[in-house]
Symmetry: C2
Subunit: 305 residues, 2 copies
């Protein structure tokens, strides 16, 4: 039912406007919401700068040139803990928090990372222009950062965020649309053939079948097309698959069976989403937004809306 | 129902043993399975080397030192099209094909990319050891590559693959378990707090609630715990949520409602998976394996097993 509260799962929270950060995130303790009130005062100070000292200005002082404004010592320590290469750079990868798509890869210097930490907009260092640049400063397609991860060697960074629009300068969702194996078969790079993981590959396939039902009529037979063209069949299948998933629990069927029935249910439900023109990314966004609230708050907000 | 054929969706196929590659992948044409038979003979030759010339040996000749074995000219052209930096390197990112998790990031030179293309095992160039290394050559935790993507600038590479086991030398699933914001709040890096996207963040939360039902008894109230402890309630909720998703189609409810109902169904179904100890990754693996077969083949293989 729509009013059932979803769990309190604050692993990622909505990024707040530049410089204002709610620390509603799950940490190692996993299980309690830690609010900004629990954070060290200095950290809060850096994240909520006074109007006179913007977050970017603070960030730009991260390299600590003489006369620059002071930076939170915790941030400074963190920036110093990164293993910057001989040019002062580390690889920075931007990833879509909902879909997992790798959007782009650039490099960050200390200042770029400091800026991203404070503004929550993915920021890089352009090696060709020798300057800082925030993705979206021209296109307005910012990448709103929810979390930042360093790897075990502390020389590689992930900006986990939500893009405001296509990330690639070509207008593609991601910069990765040239498949090596396609190229070796003689195909030209195709922006419709993005790097996609299993769930989105399935979604693409369902959507292609949907296009085919329009462009080719019945055409080549396909189970997906049949479902797309027959709402009653689709609905009865979703009901049936839900029943078979439930059965794996009630009749103590094995794990492989449960995985298989969940795959069936997910696929059929995704066909319905395609009919409704809803993307899995939108579903995941709903789930993410519910994470940052307790079930009670979530229920209350639904009543209001 | 279990026997319903899933769609013919060969966007990614199972990687075959080193040097033997089935080209069952969706390309720009999207909609037909292109088999190895359609590939250029030279490409096939490179992918199915004779026992006397191993794939790795072929790959190692990619730099074309004098006297080295000849490499498929298409591969050579592709390797030359990459914008290698002044040290002959490009960034190479390994991503889990099913979950989208960024597993690790290293660098590739021409030889490393050639080796990955031919062996389908993610291979990098170690800058510290000045040598080629295939992830897993010591740990046996290879990353089996399904596809390789170059970015729009052709200077960044994604190895999209399935890891045989944990990727990080620390034993963690991925190398990214140090959250910058956690660190700024004073937390130590925690391998349990990996970089995760929305779906896996929800899965983690459900699994934490499951642990709490054991360690804390009823403890703090939570809807997820209630579901985890009451199979009848859980099953009736899944049935109800499936019904509400269906209703969005039959009663022509809006897109936001469909996304919300799908979120509800997905969450409740994932609680069932948690009870059954099944990971979403296993479900996605099922879907991926079904992609590479037509519905008819898939149905036939189920009858056999």
């Amino acid at each position: 039912m729509a009013a059932a509260p979803l769990p309190r799962a604050p692993v990622t929270s909505s990024p707040s406007p530049a410089g204002r950060v709610l620390l509603l995130r799950g940490g190692p303790a996993r299980g309690s919401i830690r609010t900004g009130a629990a954070a060290a005062p200095g950290w809060r100070r850096m994240l909520t700068p006074s109007p006179a000292v913007s977050a970017v200005a603070l960030a730009r002082s991260a390299g600590s040139p003489p006369g620059a404004a002071a930076v939170d010592p915790k941030v400074e320590t963190l920036l110093d803990s990164v293993k910057w290469d001989t040019k002062g750079l580390a690889v920075a990868i931007a990833q879509n928090v909902d879909t997992g798509a790798i959007l782009m890869q650039g490099f960050a210097n200390k200042e770029a990372l400091a800026t991203t930490i404070s503004t929550r907009k993915a920021t890089f260092y352009s090696r060709s222009r020798s300057s800082l640049w925030t993705k979206g400063e021209t296109s307005m397609n910012f990448i709103n950062v929810y979390d930042i991860f360093l790897d075990c060697d502390r020389d590689s960074i992930i900006y986990l965020g939500k893009p405001d629009g296509p990330t690639c300068h070509t207008g593609a969702e991601t910069c990765y649309f040239s498949s090596v194996y396609d190229a070796l078969q003689g195909s030209k790079p195709n922006q419709d053939r993005q790097v996609v993981t299993t769930l989105y590959s399935l979604e693409d396939t369902i959507n292609r079948r949907k296009e085919e039902t329009v462009t080719e009529g019945s055409g080549k037979p396909s189970w997906t097309k049949k479902l797309l063209l027959d709402n009653q069949l689709l609905c009865s299948k979703i009901r049936e698959e839900a029943g078979e998933l439930i059965q794996t629990l009630l009749e103590n069927e094995d794990k492989a069976r449960a995985a298989s029935e969940m795959a069936d249910l997910l696929y059929h439900a995704m066909v319905l989403l395609s009919v409704k023109d809803v993307k899995m990314e939108e579903v995941l966004e709903v789930l993410r937004k519910r994470f940052s609230q307790s079930g009670i708050e979530e229920k209350a907000s639904r009543k209001k809306s």
